[in-house]
């Protein structure tokens, strides 16, 4: 090794390092202080993530269109009285008949004026029928599994409730006789025959309920004078005689009712069979509660004291009649169950002991999983008593859906071609919809940016400011969602973008200042070793722009993915699917460029300051 460069009178000029070399050095530096760099990048990352959420929202046209029912359109945004409106104008009856809609159907949906009918209601009726058929099938299937618990489960709920239980019932419900015998005490249940006699004697309840209990004939006039709605009386009278006769011949008991009258128990039966009828009448609701008790009496069933009192029987009478019928207390049985569980199905035992039934156990016991999940709510288990309530409630649902199916079946007779034809010629235009919605508020509605979202998610933009005639020329279709944005929403979005960029800028500047400051010593050293000022700047800028690209790319990913997930889970995945993939790529580009530019702007000043600083001062700095 030998020294050179002695005796130089002129000094050479230091050459700039090739870019490739500088790139390699900065890559190396980034690689080595990876985690430190990631922290620096965090500021960029979060800022750009914020920007990306705003951009993604914008791409998805948030707020997004909700689903609109068939036959309707929805006006939303800056419009007075936004809401759902019929998408079809009233259709004249003649036009409907001509198109081939059956007259019975038209009669069902006739408007008050009598000359027109509503096409929307036909479409809604068809939808409701489909829904009812689907639901009926579901509840029936569920009932197949549930019904086998129908008979026995209530008993175990009664045991849990500490009620009195008859020995015979317990044995029938699968409690071994030996266990029952241990729990037998004397209890109180009214023997039907004694109750019957007592009622006849006192005549305390009103005439209708008494007639029900005694299964006497009631004439419509009597019923109406007793306050029963005419609808209900009509429905009872409309029950075919043959069925009634048939049932009674099976019983081979009392003679058939006189013509023009009906049997008291029939009233309870009709009420029970039409659960979705007349629910709004308080009187009917009361009948619903009271009549079954009396119907039970008529059917010679035993009645509980409490039920009899609730149904209007004086408590004194009821208690006096409490017989010496052998019963036992449910609470006693619970203690026995704790020790002796042989021969009792786990689900019953869990009910009696008020234990939790997990969804898994329920499914193993053949309970439909949908039901188990519904009962468990947000948890993983439910109580047997809630299952019992549901079992009691379930037949009602079967009846409700059966009634709906039969009521809406008529709409299926309207041919689809006729509906389509009418829908085309009687659909309303955008102008008519806006008029019906009392017109948008010109001050705040952005009519130049009006948007129609079709039922299939396709978006149409309408500029009514530029082409006012377009409103009358744009027909709306069933399920359309018309969004009239707020003028301010446009500015608000840009304000958000601006704010997010500002947040970004502050975060990045801070990170970069820190990153440069803590490297002052290193920069001084490099200058001692012959690095040019411009090289120091180049090195820092290269590093930070690499960092900026990566961090903003990742930030975009975070913002985009979180927004997509949020929209997907709250508004539906079809909303996400409406985004244009090219625009999504564009938003990535915007984010990366913004991140890089912000990073460069934030880096270049501290980098230049660091490079210009005399080497001696940079070396002295201690961080």
């Amino acid at each position: 090794m030998s020294t050179t460069s002695a005796n130089k009178t002129t000094v050479g000029r230091q050459a700039q390092l090739p870019l490739g070399r500088a790139f390699k050095i900065s890559m190396n530096s980034l690689r080595i202080r990876f985690w430190r760099s990631m922290v620096t990048a965090g500021g960029i990352f979060l800022g750009i993530a914020f920007l990306a959420t705003v951009l993604t929202q914008w791409l998805m046209q948030w707020p997004v269109a909700p689903k609109v029912d068939a036959g309707f359109i929805r006006l939303d945004g800056q419009i007075n009285g936004p809401g759902d409106y019929d998408v079809y104008k009233p259709v004249p009856v003649e036009a409907g008949v001509q198109a081939g809609i059956p007259e019975e159907v038209i009669k069902r949906v006739q408007l008050k004026d009598g000359n027109n009918f509503s096409l929307t209601e036909i479409i809604q009726g068809q939808l409701q029928e489909k829904r009812a058929v689907r639901n009926l099938a579901r509840v029936k299937k569920e009932w197949q599994s549930l019904s086998k618990y129908e008979k026995d489960l209530p008993l175990y709920v009664d045991i849990l409730g500490g009620k009195d239980i008859k020995i015979g019932d317990a044995v029938k419900a699968g409690v071994p006789k030996a266990i029952v015998a241990k729990a037998v005490v004397h209890g109180e249940t009214i023997e039907w025959a004694r109750l019957f006699k007592e009622l006849q004697r006192t005549g305390k309840p009103d005439s209708i309920t008494l007639a029900t209990a005694l299964n006497k004939d009631i004439t419509p006039a009597q019923a109406i004078s007793a306050g029963i709605p005419k609808d209900l009386v009509d429905a009872v009278m409309a029950v075919p005689r043959e069925i009634e006769d048939e049932e009674e011949s099976e019983d081979s008991g009392p003679p058939p009712p006189k013509p023009g009258a009906f049997r008291g128990t029939l009233l309870a039966k009709v009420l029970d069979e039409n659960p979705d009828f007349w629910t709004e009448f308080r009187y009917v609701n009361n009948l619903r509660k009271v009549l079954p008790v009396y119907a039970d009496m008529a059917a010679e069933k035993d009645i509980r004291v409490e039920e009899a009192v609730k149904a209007g029987l004086p408590r004194k009478v009821a208690e006096k009649m409490a017989s010496q019928y052998p019963t036992f207390k449910g609470a006693d049985l619970i203690d026995i169950f704790r020790e002796q569980t042989d021969g009792i199905k786990p689900i019953y035992l869990a009910t009696a002991l008020d234990q939790d039934i997990t969804i898994k156990d329920a499914v193993r016991a053949d309970i439909p999983i949908a039901i188990a999940k519904k009962l468990a709510g947000s948890g993983k288990a439910f109580k047997g008593s809630s299952l019992n309530d549901l079992i009691k409630d379930h037949p009602r649902w079967i009846k409700i859906w059966t009634a709906r199916v039969s009521r809406n079946a008529i709409f299926d007779t309207a041919p689809q071609a006729a509906i389509d034809k009418l829908a085309k010629s009687y659909s309303i235009s955008l102008k008519e919809a806006l008029d019906e919605g009392k017109g948008p508020d010109a001050k705040s509605a952005n009519l130049g940016n009006l948007m129609i979202v079709n039922a299939d998610g396709r978006k149409v933009k309408v500029n009514l400011n530029r082409e006012p005639a377009l409103a009358a020329a744009t027909p709306l279709v069933s399920g359309d969602y018309v969004f009239i944005p707020d003028i301010n929403s446009f500015y608000r979005m840009w304000w958000l973008v601006g704010m997010s960029l500002l947040v970004c800028m502050v975060g990045i500047t801070n990170s970069m200042l820190m990153a440069v400051t803590e490297r002052f010593k290193e920069i001084g050293t490099m200058k001692c070793l012959g690095a040019l000022d411009s090289f120091v700047v180049l090195l820092l800028v290269l590093e930070s722009s690499l960092l900026g690209i990566c961090a903003s790319g990742l930030g975009w990913l975070l913002g985009f993915v979180s927004m997509v997930l949020l929209a997907g889970f709250t508004k539906g995945w079809d909303v996400v699917a409406t985004m244009n993939p090219w625009l999504v790529l564009g938003s990535l580009g915007v984010c990366v460029v913004a991140g890089m530019v912000l990073t460069l702007v934030a880096t270049i000043l501290p980098a230049m300051q660091a490079a210009r600083m005399p080497a001696a001062m940079a070396l002295r700095s201690e961080i």
Partner: protein
């Protein structure tokens, strides 16, 4: 002992003045330093803390600009150089050794040593070859892939020596090279510097108050309060290093 050609100056300072403004008060760190350093000389700059050693060091190394006066390196006036020429000078003519080593923490020993060569425009292969040669010379050939944090203080300072030699400079400036080292490793570094001085005929200028340096210096410049107090030939200094060791801080 290197043969010193008295005619050939490598560093000359003329009326060197440096003022710092601190809190509105002007502090004169250097008050007109006149110093001629010959090629191939081992010349220690001695003085207590705050005497202006480091300031002089920075002026001579071109790391800072003097308030007044001139510094000539190889007869070139430093004040006349632009940034690129100054960088060229720092890269090839002067090697620096610092008290706190100042190795770049994220680079390995080899990468550190080759960095000045990269700045000098050598290819990667040339850099690696010469870098390994230098590391072998300072006895760290087998530790080339270690980062500074994985090396002891003495090893780091030896890497710094190799670093300073990277582009075969004619001057090595060392600012308290043994200040952060214990006695034994400090002695090793001093020996290494002396070896470089002898074998490569490099001018070594350590600013120090380590008295061990006195023993091997050709000349000693004593600085006090920004003045050159006296310049002694080594022969004039009668010091028993062994006695003085106890006075180490």
């Amino acid at each position: 002992m290197a043969t010193v050609d008295k005619k050939e100056y490598v560093v000359r300072t003329k009326d060197l003045v440096k003022e710092f403004t601190m809190g509105g008060q002007t502090l004169r760190a250097l008050k007109g330093i006149q110093l001629d350093i010959y090629k191939g000389e081992y010349i220690s700059i001695m003085g207590p803390s705050g005497s202006g050693k480091s300031t002089l060091f920075n002026m001579v190394g071109g790391l800072d600009k003097p308030t007044d006066g001139t510094v000539f390196i190889n007869d070139v006036d430093m004040a006349q150089l632009d940034a690129q020429e100054l960088a060229f000078l720092r890269c090839r003519t002067i090697g620096y050794i610092f008290q706190s080593f100042n190795l770049i923490p994220v680079m390995t020993a080899l990468e550190n040593v080759t960095l000045p060569m990269v700045f000098a425009g050598l290819s990667q292969d040339e850099c690696n070859e010469r870098g390994m040669e230098l590391l072998n010379m300072v006895g760290l050939g087998d530790r080339y892939h270690h980062k500074p944090t994985e090396l002891s203080g003495g090893q780091q300072q030896r890497v710094a020596c190799a670093w300073a030699l990277a582009n075969a400079p004619s001057i090595i400036l060392a600012d308290e090279p043994t200040g952060n080292l214990d006695l034994k490793t400090g002695k090793e570094i001093i020996d290494l510097l002396k070896k470089l001085n002898k074998e490569n005929n490099v001018t070594i200028i350590p600013a120090t108050h380590d008295l061990k340096m006195l023993d091997i210096s050709d000349r000693i410049v004593w600085i006090r309060d920004g003045y050159v107090e006296r310049i002694e030939e080594r022969a004039d200094v009668q010091l028993q290093v062994g006695v003085m060791e106890n006075e180490e801080h």
